[in-house]
Subunit: 202 residues, 2 copies
Amino acid sequence: MEAPSRPYHHGNLRAALLLAGERALESGGVENLSLRELSRELGVSHTSPRRHFADKQALLDALAQHGFERLGATLGRAARGQGTDFESRLTKVGRAYIGFARQHAALLSLMFTAKHRPEAPRALLEASEKALAHTLAIFSEGQAAGVVIPGDPHRLALVVFAALQGLITLSTNGKLKDIPVDKLVGEVIGHLVLGLGPRAIH
Amino acid sequence: MEAPSRPYHHGNLRAALLLAGERALESGGVENLSLRELSRELGVSHTSPRRHFADKQALLDALAQHGFERLGATLGRAARGQGTDFESRLTKVGRAYIGFARQHAALLSLMFTAKHRPEAPRALLEASEKALAHTLAIFSEGQAAGVVIPGDPHRLALVVFAALQGLITLSTNGKLKDIPVDKLVGEVIGHLVLGLGPRAIH
DNA sequence: ACCTGAACACCGTTCAAGT
DNA sequence: ACCTGAACACCGTTCAAGT
């Protein structure tokens, strides 16, 4: 019997740091994530993370990238729901986004700020673009079907996600009281779809 | 001639800290705002701020509150523009908001996070509500005039501001390229106004 | 009342050194 | 290759003490 719990070479330190980092994130925000504390939890010296992440920001970027990969999977599943109309497909994606946001609030916030850093690594940017690919396709297809006004789909999608983001901040801060969030999502998407659609009379 | 530059009692330490704090905020974000560095700049010991702000968060809250007061003044001026229709009044407020956001990006971000803290002081919450009062009135009046659907004006305003916030993050990160932001504001408000309006046919 | 200096318990990062 | 320990330059906060 050897002691596999703390070998000299940790073996999975990189993966372990990401996992512990995500836990720390959810339980205290970026502000309370400390490399030294993660190292303590994992039983390695506080300089060990350096071998795997150049600095703290590199770990945060990796966490954000992983977050985008999971968000992409979540949204992709919701977007691939087949053959319904524009509004209901969009509503499904919206609900999936809200679900992810409520479950991983601190991670989502990190994802946003990491992505918007000027020095953001290419891998992170690629992951963030990939995460929204399926959703953008909904807009393009809506345009092709003539139920969505022309224009850059990114721009249209931005408005929708920005509005959803507003709902999430309200929701996570308890300002919505008894109103179920899913109902609100439907309403908001409804408003926006009407606003994005070609007018019956103008 | 006395030396008014560094008396034993600073005299305006509270105000000086707020001013220096705001400068530090704009030039490096919340992350780079340090009480010790502010104290150094002002030529007082690093424990002096304690007399005026219980801790760092108290200074941040005061900065956020001051920010809401200025935002309120800005939006109020824009909202009081008299006697035009719902959409153009909303567009004016939207442009004013965007202007403030671009000029005080780090401050606005601090304002949001400070306001959403569960332990946010009452004065801060009151300032944030007051800042949006004139804007909310636009929605209420729009409802009274029958050009806006019924519902909690806060909820409607939220969607608009959330969407604007999305534009701002794009803009401050240079993702909008040559498109002038003011033009986009008009488009977005236009979409939303259509979406919020009563349908001609349904 | 208002400010100070020393002390405490933390950080992230660097670097020579160990296995 | 991978990890360590000591060191450096920072933090925010507390507390007894000065004027």
